[in-house]
Symmetry: D2
Subunit: 151 residues, 4 copies
């Protein structure tokens, strides 16, 4: 799973890292950065959604057979508060794991220097699909050399 | 509206540009780039969603009063095909404009060298809210100097 | 497909009937009735959603192999205006038909005596799944006796 | 709130009753009935959605000012398992209460004679709007005579 995440170039573009993996549950965090903002200076809703979607995808992948690749079927996100903060934490968990489809939920929290300001900024419900034996679609199985020491 | 888009740092991060604006309808395009991909080499679903969300937001803004700022309330996206292609085009339109809430739909198409390979890769339904007189939230009204010549 | 619809007891409960079937497109209509309302006297959002969901399911079924049964994976509906009117018409179409999953969109319109009052009351995006060889889940293939003359 | 629910004719049509009300949280239950089924004999996804939507609406209403009326803006439901069972329980809670918009989550459980068969059949994320001073839209404030003794 970490091998797959290391290949998600867009997560690197967002500065996102996986900070926790358990069966059916994944946490991804990323820092505030000016190049991820929308016109009011908050993190763009699409970045919030992208990270939550990745967390859902990997939470689903933890419960899929080793040969499966995971793709997003659909997701829905409610933006609950402007995404202002120092860091952001997407917490995803599987709510139903099926043979083909897995449904996940994720929350994204804004983390401030003072924890009393922490806030729930988004809630997602997402459907993931396990693909097996699709030409050209497989999860990376080996960490790139420069990643393997990071874990 | 273009002043606002010029302030969406994340759209610049994605290489996205507005290519059409009409009342209630906006098109945003962006090129394939390796740093926007997920682990299978397709554009990350979150990038597809982010650009479609921006297109919906600006389509909504075209029908809002000049003093309003626009924020995403929620969006739902179905990923219909892997986002492979040379360019991507998000076409958004307002399906209901209200005083407070505006509902939009967007399609994202993958554009290939050979148009016969063009494909619908995502469909979004989104709700936008018009904010008036909220401290700290207003749409930029003036293009930054280095943008004003671009239009 | 009409055999299957005839077995949807809840559609009968709502007074709903299929008024058009084409490959990838289905229309279902139902009349205003007091027992379908919510507390403000409009048709309950859940009834609007139920009929739109059925229309999406049957639109998907028209493009599935004959042995497949259809089930809803998920749907999202935006309620665009209070559902007031004499009749309601759910127009569903397939936006992507896949081997396993089919994505549909539906609009629900309120029909008044005076067509100038007609209004779009809801928009849905839905995912349907084709099930084959699942014990206990198959589409009815024969119209019940009291239905076969209705078409 | 119970006065409003008593006016939801469609909830009576479904045999649904409110079984728990707390600030920001509402539970609604309904029994299996043949007239609520789809073609495979399960409860229709639209009924599941309707009851979850009502539970979300009333959970939101518990946190709104007394003069507000509640309407559904949108909801998204994932159907996680076929809705088979003796009874069904929709558990809704507010995840963010705002001045205008309130976001809720709901789960629908199937209840069997043997609790080991109980199952999560649906998960919803919904947005509700508080309407104040809209002509013709207000929550009923008084229980009808034949309801007032029921609670």
């Amino acid at each position: 799973m970490r091998a797959s995440f290391a290949e998600q170039a867009f997560m690197a573009t967002c500065g996102a890292t996986i900070t926790s993996v358990e069966p059916g549950a994944v946490i991804i965090e990323f820092p505030f950065r000016d190049d991820l903002t929308q016109q009011h200076g908050f993190i763009h809703a699409g970045v919030v959604a992208a990270v939550a979607d990745s967390a859902c995808g990997y939470a689903a992948l933890t419960l899929m057979p080793p040969e499966a690749a995971v793709l997003s079927v659909e997701f829905k996100v409610n933006l609950l508060a402007p995404a202002a903060g120092e860091r952001f934490r997407a917490i995803a968990r599987v709510i139903r794991a099926g043979r083909t489809l897995t449904v996940c939920a994720a929350e994204v929290h804004a983390i401030h220097g003072d924890a009393r300001d922490d806030a729930l900024v988004a809630a997602m419900q997402a459907t993931m699909i396990a693909l097996v034996d699709r030409p050209g679609i497989a999860e990376p199985q080996v960490l790139p050399a420069d990643e393997s020491g990071r874990e």
